[in-house]
């Protein structure tokens, strides 16, 4: 079936003409009265205007957050958890509507937003509603009369800047732990994909006390920078690329506040020879694992964009993998049969094509794909790219940079040591995949690969309660797990003497 395009008669999604900021529980027009056009990558056409925020709007949002922080921080964890659970419930009741919006805003297939983005985002709120109930400090008796208490406190007001590849899910990853821990938030959505977050807050915003969650839209330089640089935030969280990550750390150093950063990767997907030992379900699972580079059009920080295949099976495995990958072609993102949607923006598509160009200039062999796809009709100007498979070697730029498109670069390895060496020959270390029938290989190689997560005989699973974050240039912090609460908390130590007698010092 095909969902009706937003703003058309009969669609689940009818956007207003424009979205303002969401500050202190209200819709607030931008201080300078300016808006920008938000384009749907499905059609390449604008569909809504979005507030173009500036530092005045950021200050207003920070005012609201600071006014709310004492009461929210003092709200019992049980009450905060209840609100997060209610947010999850409302999202679940509106799952289809939010999924259609997310697809329209980002270009990803509705099949994924219905089955992954929304269910995962919903579960994320429930997960942090759960873990905050069990979160506790510690107490230790240092001697018979001296006790040290460690009490978790919220940081206060935090700034969060989120990316465009999973707009609602990335918002959930950042908001759920921050709110659960008792912080007030000023959130800046990506300028490519602000619409579904604003639709989301129009559904759930009333569940939170005023000022606890504030959303300021706009461009990075105009709205993101004043947020990241503000002395009025106690922490900044950012998902994006390395140079902005460095810039955000510099801003944070001005205010001596912590940062968490998720900055991407160039994830290896390692296939050992024994995956081909049997012609069985597991072999098919591994072949499917190769095709995971197409998930979300490759616009995933952990896209398995380097496939490393053991030499003895290289040709046979790759032939089968390419044959299987050829079955996936871009299509209408609102059609439930579509597995590959649109790239999120025109510049993203152009960037992918520029990498396909340099890959060929460097001598990589284009095994399939390599071009923009025109789908005709209403979708003619949407941003569609054919799944692309390169063969080459690990020093090529298509093996070293996250292209953020449905592009995988394939090479071979000889043995375990070679696989580990190639896997680690990258600046990044966010995700990795490993496919083998040998538990010994799986553990040894999995431990040796320098990546925050090594999917073993699976890929692209993002459940709450599995820590996600990077080694090396991929960033700082671990999301998706209760340990993320620690990144949104301060530790208060009360060191108490129960001895009534003087210490005898003076």
């Amino acid at each position: 079936m095909r969902y009706v395009s937003p703003n058309s008669p009969g669609s689940l999604v009818q956007y207003p003409d424009r979205y303002d900021h969401y500050i202190n529980g209200e819709w607030v027009p931008p201080a300078r009265g300016r808006y920008f056009e938000n384009v749907s990558p499905v059609t390449g056409r604008p569909f809504i205007q979005i507030a173009r925020g500036t530092h005045e709007d950021v200050e207003r949002a920070l005012d609201a957050a600071h006014a709310a922080k004492a009461a929210w921080g003092a709200t019992p964890a049980a009450a905060r958890a209840q609100i997060l659970n209610r947010i999850a419930d409302v999202m679940e009741q509106n799952l289809e509507q939010l999924a259609v919006s997310e697809t329209w805003d980002n270009g990803k297939p509705i099949r994924e937003t219905l089955a992954a983005d929304l269910p995962l985002a919903i579960d994320h709120f429930r997960y942090f509603a759960g873990v905050i109930r069990a979160n506790e400090g510690t107490a230790a008796e240092l001697d018979a009369n001296t006790v040290t208490y460690h009490i978790k406190e919220p940081l206060g007001v935090v700034g969060q800047i989120i990316p465009w590849n999973f707009p609602l899910l990335m918002a959930a990853w950042k908001l759920a732990p921050a709110l659960a821990a008792g912080n007030c938030v000023v959130l800046k959505p990506a300028e490519q994909t602000p619409a579904s977050i604003m639709l989301w807050v129009s559904l759930v915003g009333h569940l939170l006390p005023k000022g606890v969650l504030n959303i300021v839209n706009g461009f990075g330089i105009e709205a993101g920078k004043p947020l990241a640089q503000s002395p009025r935030i106690s922490k900044v969280a950012f998902t994006g690329e390395t140079s902005t990550g460095r810039l955000i750390m510099q801003y944070a150093s001005e205010n001596i506040i912590p940062v968490t950063l998720e900055l991407g990767g160039k994830s290896p997907n390692i296939f050992f020879a024994d995956v081909m030992a049997e012609d069985d379900a597991f072999r098919q699972k591994a072949l499917e694992g190769f095709g995971m580079f197409m998930l979300n059009q490759g616009e995933v920080c952990t896209c398995p964009s380097r496939a490393l295949i053991q030499r003895s099976i290289y040709k046979d495995f790759l032939d089968l993998a390419v044959e299987r990958a050829r079955l996936t072609v871009p299509g209408d993102p609102l059609d439930t049969n579509t597995k590959l949607g649109a790239q999120a923006s025109n510049d993203q598509l152009e960037k992918i094509l520029s990498y396909i160009d340099i890959g060929q200039k460097e001598g990589a062999t284009l095994r399939m794909g390599g071009e923009r796809v025109r789908l005709g009709g209403e979708l003619e100007h949407g941003y569609y790219c054919a799944p692309t498979v390169f063969e080459g070697h690990n020093k090529m730029r298509v093996f070293q940079e996250e292209i953020f498109g449905p592009v995988v670069s394939v090479t071979s390895f000889e043995d375990d040591a070679d696989a580990i060496n190639l896997a680690n020959d990258t600046l990044y270390g966010l995700g990795a995949g490993l496919w083998t029938r040998s538990v010994h290989n799986a553990y040894r190689v999995g431990r040796a690969v320098q990546a925050g997560r090594v999917w073993t005989n699976c890929y692209h699973l993002y459940p709450a309660h599995a820590a996600f974050g990077g080694y090396k240039h991929s960033g700082i912090g671990r999301e998706n797990h209760h340990m993320m609460l620690g990144h949104y908390q301060q530790t208060k130590n009360l060191l108490v003497s129960y001895d009534p007698n003087p210490m005898g010092f003076f």
Partner: protein
């Protein structure tokens, strides 16, 4: 920042359209600089910031100067890019990060060429300046 030594060979060039955009941005924002990003989302994209906005690291490498703007890349990333030349271009788009051109509805983008043997030899003889050289 003090001045860096003259650079014999520039590893970055600029299209006419991108040059015109740089001139326009300089009118609005004053002198600008570029830094080549890596990683996800808008990784591998050029970032254009007000000159001096970004504190350069010792090992950052200056690929060249285009329209009066220095173009830098991280030292580790340069090692993996050293065999290519960049051409700064511009396309319609939405931008991201804190790059100055995003509100204009356009995005800087890089296209890449392989360095010739002569260019690689020139680079080998006269390595590009590093951030630390200017201190």
């Amino acid at each position: 920042m003090s001045t860096l030594p003259d650079q014999g060979f520039s590893q970055v060039s600029v299209t006419d359209a991108a040059a015109a955009l740089i001139r326009r941005l300089v009118l609005d924002h004053g002198p600008v600089m570029f830094f080549q990003s890596g990683g996800c989302c808008d990784g591998s994209a050029p970032m254009c910031w007000p000159k001096g906005e970004f504190r350069l690291g010792e090992r950052d490498v200056r690929l060249g100067v285009i329209e009066g703007a220095e173009y830098w890349i991280g030292g580790d990333q340069y090692e993996r890019w050293a065999h290519t030349r960049l051409v700064l271009d511009v396309v319609p788009g939405r931008g991201a990060g804190f790059s100055l051109e995003a509100p204009e509805g356009v995005r800087f983008i890089i296209r890449s060429e392989l360095c010739s043997l002569e260019e690689l030899t020139a680079l080998n003889n006269t390595p590009l300046p590093r951030g630390g050289d200017a201190r």
